[in-house]
Symmetry: C2
Subunit: 438 residues, 2 copies
């Protein structure tokens, strides 16, 4: 907060304690930078909505306005419309979830569901367990409610159960109150990995036996590239899991419609919190989405999205192999993100201005940790740019990375007389892999 | 909370302290009851969106989808679109407000702006000053953030300045921290009165000299029936006032688009809080409203709404004069609501089930107080039902009120042998004022 701590704000002494946790995320600052057309942005998590045929949406809107205009333009209930909630149950059935539409609460994107769940459970100083790394937007919410986040290590199969046990034991021995585990089991943001089925069961068991609620955030689950993702954790535990879903990635984020499926008692409180926060989610979006799910081949459209993102993932993995062969990165089976690990001597946040100068943007790994980790990581998004742009972007990124490494080596004096060729030339002749052996 | 305090909720011990303030409002319970078609609902504050020509909205939607579909379906910024914010400045200029669109933050209805401002300023136990009575939805937000509300008396000119001074002095002498004054200066919800211009200046002066922020909530300001409302408080104080506006009453609530105009430093924090809560307000609604404001005669449409609501206000005041001539009520110059005062021996909340049995619904006065006042008051909404329904509804209400009074008199034994005729017969022959002399 640039304003905080200065004399320019006459209300400086009036703010609530929780505003200390309010700060602009790295992602936010990047949105402004990355919006310049000459920059290849591998930073944002914007879905490629241009692949959604306009007539699929217009047809739904026209029908809503013809048949239900006054209701779609009116206030709705704080829980969301019954028709949309029934559709949501059908969508979740694809991930093995059974239950009642009575326990669904429609929210202003699943971001708001995150906010409301945190509001319901977190006193200042309570602990939330989260993957290491975790979603930047969730960390922002947790901070805004003055929670402490304890990161739990992941590997290629996702959250590591033994690490979870150890973290719980440690925190309990310190007398801390753990409220819930926040997890993104499918095509993790930002890590790109998927939690295996066996681990889902094991983690549910750990949380159940410790009285810890699971907050299962699943915006990307239907965007699997090869085989379907494992079934939802909620599919085998309806009392210990709050499941969050969203139409932002399978349809469009512009309507801001997401949902929570919660145990009954929590559901009741979520509705009240939703009413307090916004009175009700927007009726218009709910009616249009209901109509869209009723009358279009939305499953076919998700297949279209899947195909587009698969091609982009492939382009990114190929370009990484070509331009940065000595680095390591995750290989996502779906979703939007690859997690790149840099050599220890590089700082991804410090390197960002140079990257933007080279016309490529990314999100530094530090954005995805509550505790300052992540300096050697980068989240790369393949959802929005074309395969060609992705290739260009990774080539530019390699130029920057290799340039930084070169500079470090120069200053350390080790290679002052024999500089390694940077990848700049390779970036302008993308057919030739750079002689990158760093 | 029916679930709280029972053994049915396994998460009972996990909730945050603030959930103690979460409870279903009277208005919420009424929405369910009042939605039965045979009930005349004088309860809700739903605008009469059927008076909005479908083609005015459809034309705007078609243009958005034709010219800006992918942007309208995409995530937007946490502050809202620049184009909409510029329009909002023009709308506020009608109330004397000058300023920069940079200081506007678009929110998910102005309800969310209330939530975010409260989030920014309130620590548990802080005091918010509010009119007596005040908007039920604001009181719910304040409770959810564990604020204490101190009501300040109103009269026919709105909030009474001397009462404000006295309340501030009393609270300060008790060592309390007062964060802001929440006020609805125009066509107050629920009281129906308008704060005079002289008092606006006086109240701003009181707040300024006491370092108290003013939260000016103005959803109804453009719905004046006879002469325009006085200019906004924000028009003469741009550092001490956060102004809240909404498209819910002048266009349609189904898009959930409202806004806050805040001093610069607060604006910055509001955007961050908005991003944390929902990432961004819905793009689709913002684009459609922008187009609507660009290409339709929206001022003419507001005139249409004004005419409709004026006619309904007239119908309600006439029916009250006819059926409940000995009671007292406010005479609103705009907006949606009349505030009715019952004889002391009646309890509006206890009477409600009987009213619903007689097929009329209203909101009991207690909903509009944080401290249990309002038992002898009723909020009557004239915004949604037709003039004929309003007349029928007031007639039914008179039946109920007179029936209750009759019953009380019977039990007190005073008139056992000479019952006063109830208004039931009058309700079925609406041309004849009932011989109501209670």
């Amino acid at each position: 907060m640039t304003d905080q701590g200065t004399n320019l704000d006459p209300w400086y002494d009036s703010y609530a304690d929780r505003t200390a946790g309010l700060s602009a995320s790295e992602v936010r600052a990047l949105f402004a930078v990355a919006s310049r057309p000459e920059v290849v942005s591998l930073a944002g998590g914007m879905p490629f909505v241009s692949a959604l045929p306009r007539e699929m949406v217009m047809g739904s809107i026209e029908k809503v306005m013809r048949d239900n205009g006054p209701m779609a333009l009116q206030y709705g209930s704080g829980q969301g419309t019954p028709a949309l909630r029934e559709h949501i149950m059908q969508i979740m059935a694809m991930e093995g979830i059974r239950g009642s539409a009575d326990n669904v609460v429609v929210t202003t994107g699943s971001q708001q569901a995150l906010d409301l769940v945190t509001r319901l459970f977190i006193n200042p100083g309570d602990v939330i367990l989260a993957e290491s790394p975790s979603y930047v937007g969730a960390l922002g919410v947790f901070r805004a409610y003055q929670a402490d986040v304890a990161h739990v290590a992941m590997d290629d199969e996702g959250l590591v159960p033994q690490e979870l046990r150890d973290t719980i034991s440690r925190l309990r021995s310190e007398g801390r109150t753990i409220k819930f585990l926040y997890t993104i089991p499918n095509f993790h943001n930002p890590a790109g990995v998927t939690l295996s089925w066996a681990r889902r069961l094991e983690i549910l068991d750990i949380c159940r036996s410790n009285g810890i609620l699971v907050l299962e955030d699943n915006p990307y689950g239907l965007l699997a590239f090869d085989k379907p993702a494992p079934q939802a954790m909620r599919s085998v535990d309806d009392e210990g899991v709050i499941y969050l879903g969203s139409f932002s990635k399978t349809l469009a984020p512009g309507f801001r419609v997401g949902w929570a499926l919660a145990p009954h008692a929590i559901r009741e409180k979520l509705i009240l919190a939703n009413e307090s926060a916004t009175l009700a989610p927007n009726s218009f979006g709910q009616f249009v989405i209901t109509e869209y799910l009723d009358q279009t081949d939305w499953r076919g459209q998700i297949d279209t999205f899947r195909g587009i993102y698969r091609e982009r993932r492939d382009a990114m993995l190929a370009a990484l192999g070509e331009y940065l062969p000595t680095m390591s990165w995750t290989k996502p089976d779906g979703g939007f993100f690859v997690w790149l690990t840099l050599p220890d001597e590089l700082d991804s946040k410090a390197m960002l201005p140079r990257a933007v100068k080279e016309l490529v943007a990314y999100t530094p790994g530090t954005a995805f940790y509550a505790d300052g980790q992540g300096a050697h990581n980068i989240r790369l998004s393949f959802c929005y740019p074309t395969p060609e742009s992705i290739r260009t972007g990774i080539a530019r990124l390699a130029t920057v990375i290799n340039g930084e490494l070169d500079l470090l080596r120069t200053f350390s004096g080790a290679t002052l007389t024999s500089p390694v060729p940077t990848v700049s030339s390779a970036a302008s002749s993308v057919g030739n892999p750079p002689p990158n052996t760093l």
